[in-house]
């Protein structure tokens, strides 16, 4: 099955051939590399930008104002922090002119920990992204979602921040993307750029990809359960799913919701689940103080207080200035499988 890098490549191919994408650009996005995570190999509208994130965001903004459709990449989300003012201007542009100008663009960037990214290459962006009104924010955890939501992001008339977890980029999916070949090796032969000299003049042999997309704003229940509602996304989503399976054996029934879209998020899905389970936990790997999970917990508390059998919980990253390179440090700084299991077990065990 395709991995997230291949899924994005296929979605961008559909974008530039059928959905009007004019530019896919950023640092090392064009040939020969096709992106440090290979997510932009083999495309025709890619180009390498100067090493200047402000120029990347600014130019994407200008292209959108001129009626183009750009997909710009920030190589790692960790390099986005010198552009926050520009991101805010993109987000407030339509509001500022009372709807006169639209700013359709996609900003794609890999997020999070799990690749030994050390002090400054392990950032989550949930808090900042959800605190910049005017942006839609997607954060995927599977290749199928990456494909379907990138298609929707490209079609959206608003600026969309497309986040995907560094740790999951190379993991093959378990659901087939419509049109993708049965055999993963075949897919690789057809769309992965060859290494070395063979890359010269190489062009991919794209599979037939039928129209398919996943709507922005729809969560996905990746584990059904009745005792606890776990709302998560990104790197921690598959971990929570595994934990739910494990706990099922212990007779603890956990419902895991992969939010997939942070703005606008699927509140109905959360309400329905919490009304059933009466227990809520938000899990993500951003640092825990002023964390998007706290927003979800606050809203659950305000609106569903009398439905709850236990205090809503948030499991997130330790509130430290960075993540340590040594695994002995990273391991305890962001939630791992065991931490998630423990948190779910504890929450299920509380009896009010």
């Amino acid at each position: 099955m395709a991995n997230i890098a291949q899924a994005l490549r296929m979605a961008l191919h559909v974008g530039e051939t059928r959905l009007g994408v004019t530019d896919v650009f950023g640092e090392d996005v064009g040939p020969p590399l096709g992106g440090v995570f290979t997510a932009t190999q083999g495309l025709t509208t890619t180009w390498n930008s100067p090493l200047d994130e402000r120029g990347i965001v600014g130019t994407a903004f200008g292209l959108a104002l001129a009626g183009q459709r750009a997909v710009a990449e920030i190589q790692f989300v960790d390099y986005i922090y010198n552009t926050i003012d520009l991101l805010k201007l993109v987000g407030n542009c339509r509001w500022s002119c009372n709807g006169m100008f639209e700013v359709p663009l996609v900003l794609m960037t890999p997020v999070g920990s799990g690749i030994h990214g050390s002090l400054y290459h392990s950032h989550s962006f949930d808090t900042f992204a959800t605190h910049m009104p005017g942006w839609k924010v997607v954060l995927v955890s599977t290749p199928l979602d990456a494909y379907g939501l990138m298609i929707s992001a490209i079609q959206d008339p608003n600026p969309v921040m497309f986040l995907y977890p560094k740790a999951l980029i190379r993991i093959p999916g378990s659901d087939k993307i419509p049109g993708e070949p049965e055999d993963a090796k075949e897919l690789s032969r057809r769309i992965d750029a060859p290494v070395g000299a063979a890359r010269e003049g190489w062009t991919p042999d794209w599979p037939e990809l039928p129209d398919f997309s996943i709507p922005i704003g729809e969560a996905k229940t990746i584990a059904e359960g009745t005792d606890v509602t776990c709302v998560t996304y990104g790197r921690t989503a598959p971990l929570a799913k595994k934990a739910a399976a494990k706990l099922a054996e212990e007779g603890v029934s956990v419902e895991v919701i992969d939010l997939r879209t942070l703005v606008p998020y699927d509140w109905d899905a959360i309400v329905a689940s919490v009304k059933k389970t009466r227990r809520f936990i938000a899990i993500n790997e951003d640092t825990e103080v002023t964390n998007f999970g706290e927003h979800l917990a606050r809203r659950v508390t305000e609106e569903l207080f009398y439905e709850l059998e236990a205090p809503p919980k948030v499991l997130a990253g330790a509130n430290t200035p960075g993540i340590g390179l040594a695994w002995s440090l990273e391991q305890v700084q962001v939630p791992q499988a065991a931490d998630i299991e423990r948190a779910l077990r504890e929450l299920a065990a509380i009896y009010a």
Partner: protein, 305 residues
């Protein structure tokens, strides 16, 4: 020039008659901005010029034909403000029909955005260009360098007029105190970008040099950095009182006197012109006053399409 001066003076007066909160604008830049506005190929889309302006650019739009009353509606933050619906400051204009992208309050960010519209025009072909302007102090922000670099990539040069209006001040800070460069525009040289400076208080020199430079950009599809020296006739903004300063040349007065001296106008012609636009400003204010404020229920409108 007379009209846009009259507009700015009306806007300033509105801060005193509490018809508006905050004023910032461009009196003293008319001799440069009016010729520039007259040379703009105005319209919507890639075949026309894109404008990334700052808060002293009203004379450009007045010269292009923006009605006085629209600025006055913005100053009064009325729902009828066609640029922002009463949401943003005065001289923060947005006009899709003329490719005037929404004005922002953040100094210099427009220089990081302008390469985007210019890139679309370069690809599109034709003669449309992008024009970006801002001040001297703002050129200290990295975005000015971003603009130079992104508009001069080899084989990918952009049809972009990069303007710096140098009035020798950033709020209270004199240019010479914080800038070691004799000519800001010369920074283009290392990037292989042509550059020039001109006296922005002289409408004739401004028009002549602007015509040549804009023709070059339209035809050659190459960037150009232009530095224009102008006055700042009412200080920085209403925060610093917006009092008229008298130790800097007044291009409108000087040019008027020149035209009279040359016998092209009589002093009376000019007085009448001034009165005409003063009256237009007053009438517009009366009209704007009668118009509705933005409806509180609309605060979430236009966040998303």
């Amino acid at each position: 020039m007379v009209k846009s001066r009259a507009l700015e003076e009306r806007l300033i007066a509105m801060t005193r008659s509490s018809d508006g909160f905050f004023w910032i604008g461009g009196p003293g830049e008319e001799a440069f901005n009016v010729p520039l506005g007259l040379l703009v190929n105005k319209g919507e889309g890639l075949d026309h010029d894109f404008l990334h302006l700052h808060y002293r650019s009203s004379a450009i739009l007045t010269a292009m034909g923006m009605p006085m009353i629209d600025a006055i509606r913005q100053m009064a933050s009325k729902a009828t403000d066609p640029h922002t619906g009463g949401r943003n400051f005065i001289n923060h204009f947005a006009m899709k029909a003329w490719n005037v992208v929404p004005g922002t309050s953040t100094i210099e960010t427009q220089y990081a955005v302008a390469p985007g519209t210019a890139l679309a025009q370069k690809r599109h072909g034709g003669h449309g260009i992008t024009i970006v302007n801002g001040g001297d102090a703002g050129s200290a922000e990295g975005d000015f360098a971003t603009c130079l670099n992104w508009s001069s990539r080899p084989g990918r040069e952009l049809p972009l007029l990069i303007i710096v209006v140098n009035n020798k001040y950033g709020i209270s800070t004199p240019f010479d105190q914080v800038h070691g460069d004799q000519f800001i525009a010369r920074r283009g040289e290392a990037f292989g970008i042509r550059w020039d400076v001109l006296n922005g208080n002289d409408p004739v020199e401004s028009h002549q040099k602007l015509s040549e430079i804009i023709a070059y950009i339209r035809e050659e599809r190459m960037p150009f950095v232009l530095e224009a020296y102008t006055s700042r006739l009412h200080g920085h903004s209403s925060s610093s009182g917006a009092a008229r300063v008298h130790d800097e040349p007044d291009c409108v007065k000087d040019y008027g006197e020149k035209l009279v001296a040359e016998g092209i106008f009589t002093a009376d012609d000019i007085a009448q012109l001034e009165k005409k636009y003063r009256d237009e400003g007053l009438a517009a204010l009366e009209q704007a006053r009668s118009e509705p404020d933005p409806d509180p229920s609309t605060i979430h409108d236009h966040t998303f399409a």
